[in-house]
C-alpha cells in the first residue's frame, strides 16, 4: 500500500506496524464503503482546507478564483436554461399510450435524483437515472433515447434541477452483490487505462485544481453532484454517459457502451462517496 506524503507514511508506519502492509493484499480486503467515504472526504478537505464541504460540488470553480468569479456571473443567467426548459417539457408530455414519466418514478419523478444510482436487489444490478428513464420509455412503448445525446441530457437536467440542494443519499443494501458492484466501481475509478495510462484518479484525485492543457481539473469529491452538465466545449448539455465515454477516448481508451456495467458501477461508487453533498445539477462547465 503506497501512501502519498512522507508524513502520512511515517504515521502509517507507526500505527500499522503490527499489520503486514508490505505484503500484497491477496486475501479479499473487507469492503467497507463507510470507511472509504470517510477517507475520501478527508482526503479532499485536507487538500483544500479553504473550500467548504458543500462547495466541492462546483468542481473547477471551487479550485480557481478567476473561474469562480466568471461562474458566479454565469449562474445569474445560466447557459443551460434552454435544455432545462426542454427537459421539463419532455418530462410532462405524455407518451403515445397516455402515460408519462411521472408514472414510472416515486414522487412523480420530482426531487428524487439524489437517490440514484440504487442497487436493485431483484435484478442484482445498479440502476442509474439514465437507465431508469429509458426503461420507463420502453415499458411504455417508446423507443429509448441515446445515452449521449440532447434528449437524455435534457430529461436528467430537469430531474436534477428538481433535486437541487438535496444531499446525495445513495444506499448500499446489505447484499454482497451490492458491495461487489460498489467495489467494482471503485476499482474502475483507480484503474489506469488508455494509451495515456490515466485512471480517473490520475486527474481527479492526484491533480484537482491543476491544469490539463487549458482546463482546471475538478476534484472527484462532488463530481457527480453537478451532472448532467452544460459544457461550453460541447455547446450544450451532456449526460453522465457522455462524460464517461469521452473521458475514456480522451486518454486513448476505447470507450465501452454507455450504461455498461462498469460505468454504472463507477457512478454508484462515485455518488456514494459524495453522500451528504448537495445536488447542484444541472451544472455549467467550461
Amino acid at each position: 500500500m503506497k501512501l502519498r506524503s512522507a508524513t502520512q507514511l511515517a504515521s502509517a508506519a507507526l500505527t500499522l506496524a503490527a499489520l503486514t502492509f508490505a505484503a500484497p493484499a491477496t486475501a479479499a480486503d473487507k469492503i467497507d464503503p463507510v470507511a472509504d467515504a470517510k477517507a475520501f472526504k478527508k482526503f479532499f478537505t485536507d487538500k483544500f482546507p479553504k473550500v467548504k464541504l458543500e462547495d466541492f460540488v462546483n468542481g473547477p470553480y471551487s479550485m480557481d478564483e478567476g473561474l469562480h468569479r466568471q461562474w458566479e456571473e454565469k449562474e445569474q443567467f445560466p447557459p443551460y436554461e434552454f435544455s432545462l426548459d426542454m427537459g421539463k417539457e419532455m418530462f410532462t408530455k405524455p407518451f403515445k399510450n397516455g402515460k408519462t414519466y411521472e408514472d414510472c418514478f416515486p414522487n412523480k419523478g420530482i426531487g428524487i435524483r439524489q437517490n440514484y444510482p440504487y442497487f436493485d436487489e431483484k435484478e442484482g444490478k445498479v440502476i442509474t437515472l439514465e437507465l431508469a428513464l429509458n426503461r420507463c420509455r420502453e415499458a411504455n412503448g417508446e423507443p429509448p433515447f441515446s445515452y449521449v445525446r440532447d434528449e437524455m441530457a435534457a430529461l436528467t437536467a430537469y430531474m436534477a434541477f428538481t433535486s437541487r440542494g438535496k444531499p446525495f443519499d445513495i444506499k448500499i443494501p446489505n447484499d454482497p452483490r451490492a458491495l461487489e458492484a460498489y467495489q467494482r466501481g471503485k476499482e474502475y475509478f483507480y484503474t489506469r487505462r488508455g494509451q495515456l495510462n490515466f485512471s480517473c484518479a490520475t486527474c481527479h484525485v492526484q491533480s484537482p485544481g491543476e491544469r490539463i492543457r487549458a482546463e482546471v481539473l475538478a476534484p472527484a469529491l462532488g463530481i457527480m453532484n453537478a451532472m448532467p452538465i452544460y459544457r461550453s466545449e460541447w455547446s450544450g448539455m451532456g449526460t453522465t454517459s457522455r462524460r464517461f465515454t469521452t473521458c475514456n477516448s480522451q486518454i486513448r481508451g476505447v470507450p465501452l457502451n454507455p450504461q455498461d456495467d462498469e460505468y454504472r458501477d463507477l457512478e454508484y461508487y462515485l455518488s456514494y462517496v459524495s453522500n451528504g453533498l448537495p445536488i447542484s445539477g444541472p451544472g455549467a462547465r467550461p
Binding site: Q76, F77, P79, E81, G236
Partner: protein, 103 residues
C-alpha cells in the same frame, strides 16, 4: 412558440445592466457533420437592443460567435418599468423579437 430570447434588465442608479441569452445554432459554415458534409452557415448577423426609440446596443455578428450566445452590457439611462426591445436577424432572413420590462 417560445421566444428564443431570454433577457433580464436591471436598472441600477443611472445605468441599466442587461443580460441576454439567445437560442440560436450559430453555425459558422466551417464545421462538418458526422457524414463529413459542411453544415451550412446559419448565424445571427444583427442584434439590436432598443430603448426609448433608440438603439442602445447594436451588434454585427459573424460565424465566430458560439451557439446560444450570451450578451451582457450596460447602458446609461433606463428606468424600472420601461420597455426594452430586443431583435435579431440572421443570415437566412429569420428574425425574432421580444420586449422586456426593465426591473
Amino acid at each position: 412558440m417560445a421566444s428564443t430570447i431570454r433577457v433580464r434588465a436591471i436598472a441600477r442608479g443611472d445605468t441599466t445592466e442587461v443580460q441576454a441569452l439567445i437560442q440560436h445554432p450559430m453555425d459558422s459554415g466551417y464545421i462538418k457533420d458526422a457524414k463529413g458534409e459542411i453544415i451550412p452557415p446559419h448565424f445571427i448577423q444583427q442584434l439590436t437592443f432598443e430603448y426609448d426609440g433608440k438603439n442602445v446596443f447594436l451588434a454585427d455578428w459573424g460565424g465566430g460567435i458560439s451557439k446560444d450566445p450570451y450578451i451582457k452590457f450596460a447602458f446609461k439611462g433606463g428606468k424600472k418599468g420601461d420597455d426594452l426591445k430586443i431583435s435579431w436577424l440572421d443570415n437566412k432572413g429569420a428574425t425574432d423579437t421580444t420586449t422586456a420590462k426593465i426591473q
